[in-house]
């Protein structure tokens, strides 16, 4: 079959041999011991589109830092590099269980994000975080939240009027861990996470 020059060049551009390898959708960054909520890591990894991602690789469109406790400058620099490479970061803070000071410093210095001291939520409350973006769902809170101080337009989730998740550029900050709800099979948590990945 004759092939025009335009068709030939078009086919060549689509060829896997020449095109860069497709980027994986989502990577889960393993913090090791600095992940203070291991079930978050399990919950997020259980999402079929996730895989455990070693650092120093830039092959995903989306990175999740699950159950984060103490964070290092090296990690902070890596996260910035990922965002500069076009990737989105979901930073799931578990600072209510440890590592608050280092997170506060890192987020302020590298992302200009202000977080506040962890809050132990009172008993007898309505136990849900209201996510407003990318879809509206209710997901159980995890007792200890890390409020985030951002303009209203950046807030993506609240509990009792307290902002607990935000979106600033390529950084999505979660101040109430969602991984445990994913691990527990919470439908709304899964739909929120899938919508987030699809949107970003």
């Amino acid at each position: 079959m004759p092939l025009s020059r335009r068709e030939f060049v078009g086919a060549l551009a689509m060829s896997p041999a020449i095109a860069p390898p497709p980027r994986a959708l989502c990577g889960v960054i393993d913090l090791g011991d600095a992940c203070v909520l291991p079930e978050s890591r399990i919950g997020i990894l259980a999402c079929t589109f996730s895989k455990l991602q070693k650092m120093h690789r830039h092959e995903c469109l989306f990175y999740v830092v699950p159950g984060a406790g103490p964070v290092t400058r090296q990690l902070s620099r890596e996260l910035v590099e990922f965002t500069q490479g076009g990737a989105c970061i979901i930073f799931e803070s578990a600072a209510g269980f440890g590592g608050f000071e280092s997170q506060r410093e890192m987020l302020a210095e590298y992302f200009g994000l202000q977080i506040e001291r962890p809050v132990l939520l009172p008993e007898g409350r309505i136990p849900y975080v209201d996510y407003h973006w990318p879809v509206s769902v209710k997901v159980r809170d995890f007792n200890r939240i890390v409020p985030v101080r951002v303009p209203a337009r950046e807030v993506i989730a609240t509990i009792d009027g307290i902002a607990v998740a935000s979106r600033r550029g390529k950084l999505i900050f979660l101040g109430s861990p969602i991984g445990p709800a994913l691990h527990a099979g919470d439908r709304e948590a899964h739909s929120w996470f899938k919508a987030l990945v699809a949107t970003s």
Binding site: V36, L37, E123, P127, N143, P180, A181, H183, A184, G185
Partner: protein
């Protein structure tokens, strides 16, 4: 052979271990259930050498240790959300396994899973599974069975016998079974049916009676002495035979006598004798 035991947690607070063991023996029991974290002689800080000494005292009194329970699970549960609390819970269960070996018994009791308004059911299910799967190896090495107590209304978890059975299937270890409490089932079923369903997975049996229609409010207890409540004791006795349970029957009484507290031990021992003899 069915044998009688009772918990050391029932001993009056100001009694010494020796005085308590003497009462337990004299009132007709074969063994004692030791509660980690409850009495001064058995704490997390109690060293191995002291545990060996504890065993010697039990045996000198003419008794055996039926199993190792704990009073810590309500504050530190293996299903806790906080990883540090969960870690402490894992540690005290591991200590139960270690001390069970030292004390010459092959079973421990744990309250595995604690659902609260803050700690929801599905999370508790997953974390409890993960924790028990992790503990099973140590239990297997020590040849000590972990008996998960059915606390039903108290821990609001695994309320039906079939769900409990399914849960144990998922744990999938011969070293993890059920410590079946016939007084904990309340309005949610019938103890004899739990015994039938769990049969070979029963590690130990706790005995107490329950006032099913009373409910629990404040410090009002639904638990009562054997034969004073609503359990169908002839049916329970028949179920024990049906599944060929041939181990320890451990009194877990809640009602403490205001006067003559030792009377509880005598009365309960006499009631268990009648239960074993099926004389109703």
């Amino acid at each position: 052979m069915l044998r009688k035991s009772i918990g050391d947690n029932l001993l009056p607070k100001d009694w010494t271990l020796e005085k308590g063991l003497a009462l337990i023996k004299k009132s007709g029991y074969d063994g004692v259930e030791l509660w980690l974290g409850d009495k001064p002689w058995f704490q997390m800080t109690t060293a191995d050498a002291q545990i060996r000494e504890l065993r010697r005292k039990v045996e000198d009194a003419g008794l055996a240790v039926s199993d190792v329970a704990n009073s810590l699970d309500w504050d530190e549960n293996i299903s806790a959300r906080d990883p540090q609390v969960r870690e402490r819970a894992m540690r005290h269960v591991e200590r139960q396994i270690e001390t069970a070996q030292l004390l010459g018994t092959d079973a421990i009791l744990v309250v595995a899973g604690l659902v609260t308004s803050e700690n929801p059911y599905n999370e508790v299910y997953g974390r409890t599974l993960d924790s028990l799967r992790a503990l099973h190896e140590k239990a297997a090495r020590a040849r000590v069975k972990i008996g998960c107590e059915n606390c039903n209304a108290e821990h609001r978890f695994l309320i039906s016998p079939r769900e409990f059975w399914q849960f144990l299937n998922e744990v999938d270890s011969p070293w993890v079974g059920i410590h079946l409490d016939v007084g904990n089932i309340h309005e949610t079923g019938f103890a004899e049916q739990w015994i039938e369903i769990h049969g070979p997975r029963i590690t130990r049996i706790h005995l107490k009676d329950v006032l099913k229609h009373r409910g629990r409010c404040g410090d009002q207890s639904v638990y009562t002495n054997l034969f004073l409540g609503d359990n169908n004791w002839p049916a329970i006795r028949a179920a024990v035979d049906k599944v060929h349970y041939d181990g320890w029957l451990i009194a877990e009484m809640e009602l403490r006598y205001r006067y003559a507290p030792d009377q509880q031990f005598w009365d309960t021992a006499a009631a268990i004798d009648r239960f074993i003899a099926a004389r109703f």
